[in-house]
């Protein structure tokens, strides 16, 4: 009898599970492909029809910002590094900060719809635009927009069909960092992490994201001219295979990969990593913790970033979002961020506000020739970005599969 009872309840339970599961799935299905009209952009990109904000309203009281580490500092990491507290007082917008380690993470987090503002690099911006996660921005609502370098405005990574989708923030290059006491002679080339990586076997570090494949491609661009790589983000099958082989060979010498900047600082500090790719801010923080490190731009050039502040399409705090962006690109704050993170500011007037008067010269803020050597992170697509039409290039999905393969080789 008892056995029977148990069995019946089992049966009805299965029924309930099925119904609930069906409901859950139906719920997911109904949210699919909401955006009605969409327009085509160059390269066949479909952009959801979204409208920019007309005018600012009353501040909503808070704003949730998704940022690269070092971009939005409220003093919690270092009491001396704070350009948010004053803004919170004057604007009435409490700033909630969430940092991310890779562009992929940023895209994923932005997709939750919980964030109002994001600092997106070029390999995230178009994905966010195409998916309808961010909306166009009304640049006339950003009082500091006229002071932003023209070289950064309305670029392929921050605008579509002549519509601005964000406010340029700043740019820079990924650098090579090494322990000055353990790596001798001092390197001058990316070969320190590729062909010569064996010298630091088990102590090499690399950035843990498929976009790092571009770093290998950039090195091949300089060292293997017969591969004819023109743009590290436009790789056909052969070129990608060469980059993958290089990274697999590198892996034998890698101790660990990083995407969490705090982990990289610690690894360099205790010597488990001695050479590898980095950002200026990481080098600065590591030096601050007395690690004997140096970071520089290798002779082959580098991959880099040109970042854009974007507004979430589902944002409930748009007035605060615009106010925060305007604050972050204002000359003084933009200068503080540029110096703290170690990049070229986006605001022309920021160059007069830096503590180190040479900052803009050091980081080549107005040096377009320099930045022609820096290949900004861009999402690879099947249409070759270097203009080739006789061959199909590998897209980011292929890159991420390749990256998984490298990490598991």
């Amino acid at each position: 009898m008892k056995e029977n009872g148990v069995r019946t309840s089992h049966k009805s339970l299965t029924g309930v599970v099925a119904v609930v599961a069906a409901l859950a799935l139906a719920g997911c299905g109904s949210t699919a492909g909401g955006g009605g009209g969409s327009s085509a952009a160059p390269g066949g990109m479909q952009v959801p029809a979204l409208k920019a904000l007309d005018k600012l309203g009353t501040p909503e009281g808070e704003v949730n910002v998704l940022a690269w580490p070092g971009y939005v500092e409220n003093g919690s990491n270092d009491p001396k590094v704070d350009w948010v507290t004053d803004f919170e007082k004057s604007s009435g917008c409490k700033v909630n900060i969430k940092t991310f380690g890779t562009s992929d993470e940023a895209v994923q987090l932005m997709r939750t719809g919980q964030y109002d503002v994001v600092s997106a690099s070029g390999d995230a911006t178009l994905r966010l635009i195409a998916a309808g996660d961010v909306e166009p921005v009304n640049t006339s609502l950003i009082t500091n927009y006229p002071d932003i370098f023209d070289a950064l405005k309305m670029k392929p990574w921050n605008s579509v069909n002549g519509v601005a989708y964000g406010i340029p923030h700043g740019r820079g290059a990924n650098l090579l960092m090494y322990r000055t006491d353990l790596v001798k002679p001092a390197p001058d080339s990316w070969s320190a992490v590729f062909d010569q990586a064996g010298a630091q076997k088990g102590k090499v570090t690399a950035y843990d994201s498929p976009i790092y494949i571009a770093d290998a491609a950039l090195y091949l661009m300089a060292t293997k001219p017969d591969l004819k790589i023109k743009n590290p983000y436009a790789l056909d099958d052969t070129q990608l295979a060469a980059a993958v082989d290089l990274l697999k060979a590198q892996k034998a010498n890698v101790g660990e990969y990083w995407s969490d900047y705090l982990k990289e600082i610690q690894a360099f500090k205790n010597g488990t990593s001695t050479v590898g790719t980095t950002w200026q801010v990481i080098a600065n923080l590591a030096k601050g913790e007395k690690a004997p490190v140096e970071a520089f731009l290798p002779k082959e050039g580098a991959t880099g970033w040109s970042d854009t502040w974007m507004v979430g399409a589902k944002s409930q705090h748009k007035t605060c979002a615009y106010k925060l962006i305007d604050h972050l690109v204002s000359p003084k704050v933009n200068a503080q961020i540029a110096e703290y993170f170690g990049e070229a500011p986006g605001n022309r007037k920021a160059c007069a506000e830096t503590v180190d008067k040479n900052h803009c010269a050091t980081f080549h803020a107005e040096d377009e020739a320099y930045f022609s050597k820096v290949h900004y992170w861009t999402t690879p697509i099947a249409t070759c970005l270097d203009g080739r039409t006789d061959v199909k290039c590998t897209d980011y999905a292929t890159w991420s599969k390749a990256w998984t393969e490298i990490r598991n080789s």
Binding site: V20, D104, R127, Q266, A382, A397, S400, R407
Partner: protein, 270 residues
């Protein structure tokens, strides 16, 4: 009638929780595994495909699954090897006072944050760290470090059920075995082990499943090691359906494992 209504009221909230939050989530994961993504935006596209499961059968992913299983098995075996003598000492040898102290020593680390313990191991394993200066060598970050750290993290979950089983084991059984001429070895093999087995199986459910799903300790002390958890994490941003398919694998492994454990009768022991 009234008691029936009361029963429904009592059971509805936990059942809803179980079905919606637990089974619903599993069902969604399973369904997602049959979808694909847009190559540019990485958004999930709802067209049916078996591609994700086919991909799991490539050497890359089979390697990850095999490695993860190996870690889970090693951690479980190490936990058993440490827990059995330890629990025996606690339950049978140690005086009452010391027993309470040892029990506390096992339980206290459970109160500390998982992250703190994992980072402590990161510091201990680094060159010039505690292990290096004490033993003159450190395994460094990687496979061995992960097994070591996970064994440390999950050991209490093995000791506690085994300790309870030793406590429950009647002294008279051991005496009977000795009276009948059983040497200590035979007694251990034929009396102690069979009565411990369900407890070990119960403990192994924790050590095995926790090791199978772990990805945080692996990131902290694993160096460049890739396991199921880290691969899911890596793909969750770029290829959610593939991540879901990988998630399905660990669910399947656990179901098989639980069915096997159920045969030992250990689940009544939890």
């Amino acid at each position: 009638m009234r008691s029936r209504r009361a029963l429904v009221a009592l059971l509805t909230p936990p059942m809803l929780w179980l079905v919606v939050a637990y089974l619903g989530a599993l069902a969604v994961i399973f369904a997602t595994a049959f979808w694909t993504t847009d190559p540019f935006t990485n958004l999930v596209v709802r067209t049916f495909t078996l591609e994700n499961f086919r991909e799991l059968l490539t050497p890359t992913y089979l390697g990850i699954i095999g490695r993860t299983l190996l870690i889970a098995v090693l951690v479980t075996v190490l936990c058993i090897l440490i827990a059995v003598p330890f629990a025996f000492f606690m339950a049978r040898v140690a005086p009452r006072r010391l027993r309470a102290l040892l029990l506390a020593a096992i339980l206290v680390p459970l109160w500390a944050s998982y992250l703190v313990k994992a980072y402590a191991w990161r510091t201990m394993l680094q060159p010039g760290g505690v292990l290096d200066s004490a033993f003159g060598a450190t395994p460094g970050y990687g496979f061995a470090a992960v097994v070591l750290t996970l064994t440390y993290l999950w050991l209490p979950y093995m000791i506690l059920p085994v300790y309870a089983a030793f406590e429950r084991l009647p002294e008279s059984h051991l005496e009977a075995s000795a009276d009948l001429g059983g040497r200590p070895g035979a007694t251990f093999r034929r009396v102690v082990v069979p009565s411990l087995l369900p407890a070990i199986a119960a403990g192994s459910v924790f050590t095995f499943s926790l090791s199978l799903g772990d990805y945080i300790a692996v990131q902290i002390v694993g160096g460049k090691l890739q396991v199921l958890g880290t691969t899911v994490l890596q793909n969750i941003t770029l290829d959610l359906p593939l991540a879901a398919a990988l998630g399905t694998v660990s669910v399947l492994i656990m179901v098989v494992y639980l069915l096997a454990v159920r045969r030992t009768g250990a689940l009544e022991n939890l």
